[in-house]
């Protein structure tokens, strides 16, 4: 019997769907496959992107503040009463010496107070020579404050031998450099700068950044050690920071530059090609999703058009017995919405199953997942809402057609 809480339109729509159960099952399956493809692809691409971004950002700051570059200044006559004319128009590009960010402590405090910024860490970096006996290598020495810097680039995870201790006479080096210079944890390395300053440091840890070049060149020392070797007492060559929303990094960098006058480079700018690739991937994903949604919409619409034709006599008799055009319209809109919703529920389940299966099958050689997939509820909710709305949208034309059927014509068939 009929449920007293169910409105008339729902009763008719549900019965029509139940009676045409083969049609209903097929179109729900079609919608489900479409939604499953969208859910699976979106989760896969989102996982892939997160993984890429995590890998990129695990070894660099989201934003880096740098001192201003030396710029060429044409010589001018500065004598009083002179015509201020330029003596030389062809100027040589100036050398870029290691410089500190002016008033960096105040800038760091100002940036640290911004709500979007998580960590600010100063660094003093420059090129030096690492010498061990007769062997030497040109390296990049990065002086850091470990407590802050490790929150940006977690070296502790990448230490393969030794510890992450970084006192004044300590140095952390990469696996390639250790191999090239034949040093291990506890061995000494002589570090000489171009200014002639040198210091002998003890290797406390050897790390693997996952990149041969980086493992060959990158070293970490305490900030004070780097400052004295680079001739920057109390100065820093950069401020590294992380932000809450990595995709907002460029916007925040521009805001910082506007507020402080210091050049701020976001990871998006420094990895422009990578970011372009991600955007291209997102665009292609959107295009695929659009066409899948379109095919789902056409599927639902075609089934409903057929249903309207098949049921035109019944629609006619319903109209004859006083059922309004609005009620008929709602009956078919409901069917479209329900087909979309039921299909999306089945599709979300199918997509989740495919993701679990993919995670089980696609594995690294060591048995770990190729990359972690995130099952975000928002993706499933969005798929459900979008498919339901697509179903409703697809049902508009057939529903209008049904509602506008002339009862006499409909009954006659």
């Amino acid at each position: 019997m009929l449920n007293r809480w169910t409105p008339f339109e729902w009763i008719i729509a549900l019965r029509f769907m139940r009676e045409g159960r083969m049609q209903t099952a097929f179109i729900i399956s079609g919608v489900a496959i479409g939604v499953a493809v969208i859910v699976f692809m979106s989760a896969l691409l989102s996982g892939l992107q997160s993984n890429f971004i995590r890998r990129v950002l695990s070894a660099q700051a989201h934003i880096q503040l740098l001192p201003p570059k030396e710029v060429a200044r044409p010589q001018r006559d500065v004598e009083p009463g002179a015509d201020n004319s330029v003596y030389g128009t062809i100027v040589q590009p100036p050398l870029q010496r290691v410089r500190s960010i002016d008033q960096w402590q105040a800038i760091a405090r100002h940036i640290g107070a911004m709500s979007q910024v998580v960590v600010v860490s100063p660094e003093a970096a420059g090129s030096v020579l690492a010498v061990r006996g007769s062997a030497s290598r040109a390296i990049t020495m990065i002086g850091i404050e470990p407590t802050q810097y490790f929150r940006i680039v977690d070296i502790r995870d990448k230490i393969v031998r030794g510890t992450d201790r970084l006192n004044a006479a300590d140095i952390l080096i990469g696996t390639e450099l250790a191999s090239d210079l034949g040093v291990d944890v506890g061995d000494k390395l002589r570090i000489s700068s171009a200014l002639g300053a040198s210091n002998t440091l003890s290797v406390t840890g050897i790390f693997d950044l996952g990149n041969k070049g980086a493992n060959q060149r990158t070293t970490f020392v305490a900030l004070h050690t780097a400052q004295s070797l680079l001739g920057l007492p109390g100065g820093v060559t950069g401020l590294d920071l992380t932000v809450r929303d990595v995709y907002a990094a460029e916007r925040i960098a521009q805001r910082i530059t506007a507020a402080t006058g210091v050049q701020a480079d976001s990871w998006i700018k420094t990895n422009a090609q990578f970011f372009t690739a991600i955007n291209a991937q997102q665009t292609s994903n959107t295009v695929i999703r659009f066409f899948v949604a379109l095919s789902v919409a056409f599927g639902i619409a075609s089934v409903l058009v057929v249903s309207v034709v098949q049921r035109s006599r019944e629609i006619g008799i319903l109209r004859a017995m006083g059922i309004s055009q609005g009620q008929i319209l709602r009956v078919f809109l409901l069917q479209g919405g329900l087909l979309g919703m039921l299909g999306s529920i089945a599709g979300a389940a199918l997509g989740a199953f495919a993701l679990i299966l993919w995670q089980q099958l696609a594995r690294n050689a060591d048995g770990t997942p190729l990359f972690p997939l995130s099952f975000e509820p928002v993706l499933f909710i969005a798929a459900l809402v979008l498919a339901t709305l697509t179903g409703l949208g697809a049902a508009v034309a057939p529903a209008l057609r049904a509602a506008r059927l002339e009862p006499v014509v409909a009954i006659r068939g």
Binding site: M1, L2, N3, R4, W5, T6, P7, F8, I11, R15, F16, R18, E19, R313, E314, G316, I317, L318, R319, A320, M321, G322, I323, S324, Q325, Q327, E406, P407, V408, I411
Partner: protein
């Protein structure tokens, strides 16, 4: 119910414009049981569609239950039709997705929006009235032709309409079933005072009506009283 000078044309404004009703004047009094006869294609069904507010006349006026309908919009016509006119067609047109009792409830359900116990009781009474209580929960498409037509009659009476329009309801039935369906309509007409316009090709059944009109080529050519004319046919609906 009153039709005055009703014309109906199809394909209006085109070279193939055809007038099928030519100035029909007809009054159906309260409680009157009127047979409509005529050959196929004479305009009987068109007349019934206009009377039933399923179609609009090209010219002329139609008054239903005191309301002149020519200027009413679709919404008003639908409401007037739903509450005042019941239909029985040659083919039952039951909705196959529903049981017999649910089909009978349908007009009440459409008008109220939600089902309730009173609708169910009313539908059960009507099914009892047409002798189908044992089949009340059967799917509509599992009933015999005669049973389906009786369900259609019960459905047409659900809103207790003052006017019932029957377009050859016995046309597809055998003699026994046809007689049973006719008697059912006649009984309801007598007991409830419902006016009935009954299209038929069967002269025997027509003779048992209060009044018979004959439509030929879109014009009423003959009107005569049946054997048992309604004595109270003086109240205009």
């Amino acid at each position: 119910m009153q039709l005055l000078d009703v014309h109906k044309s199809f394909n209006v404004g085109t070279p193939i414009e055809t007038e099928v009703l030519h100035g029909i004047d007809l009054t159906l009094f309260k409680g009157e049981f009127c047979a409509v006869m005529g050959p196929s294609g004479s305009g009987k069904s068109t007349l019934l569609n206009i009377v039933g507010l399923l179609d609009r006349p090209t010219r002329g006026t139609l008054t239903v239950c005191g309301e002149e309908t020519t200027r009413l919009d679709d919404r008003a016509l639908t409401r007037l039709r739903g509450h005042n006119i019941g239909f029985v067609f040659q083919y039952h047109h039951l909705i196959s997705a529903f049981s017999a009792i649910e089909n009978v409830m349908m007009p009440m359900l459409g008008a109220a929006g939600f089902p309730d116990a009173a609708m169910s009781e009313r539908a059960a009474e009507l099914l009892e009235y047409v002798g189908l209580t044992p089949w009340r929960d059967n799917p509509a498409n599992k009933l015999s032709g005669g049973q389906q037509q009786r369900v259609a009659i019960a459905r047409s009476l659900a809103m207790n309409p003052p006017v019932l329009l029957a377009d050859e309801p016995t046309g597809n039935l055998d003699t026994k079933s046809a007689d049973s369906v006719f008697e059912l309509l006649r009984r309801f007409n007598r007991e409830q005072g419902t006016s009935v316009l009954f299209v038929t090709h069967n002269p025997v059944l027509a003779q048992r009506c209060d009044k018979t009109i004959e439509v030929i080529d879109g014009t009423i050519v003959d009107r005569h009283r049946g054997a048992k004319a309604a004595s109270d046919a003086d109240l205009l609906l």
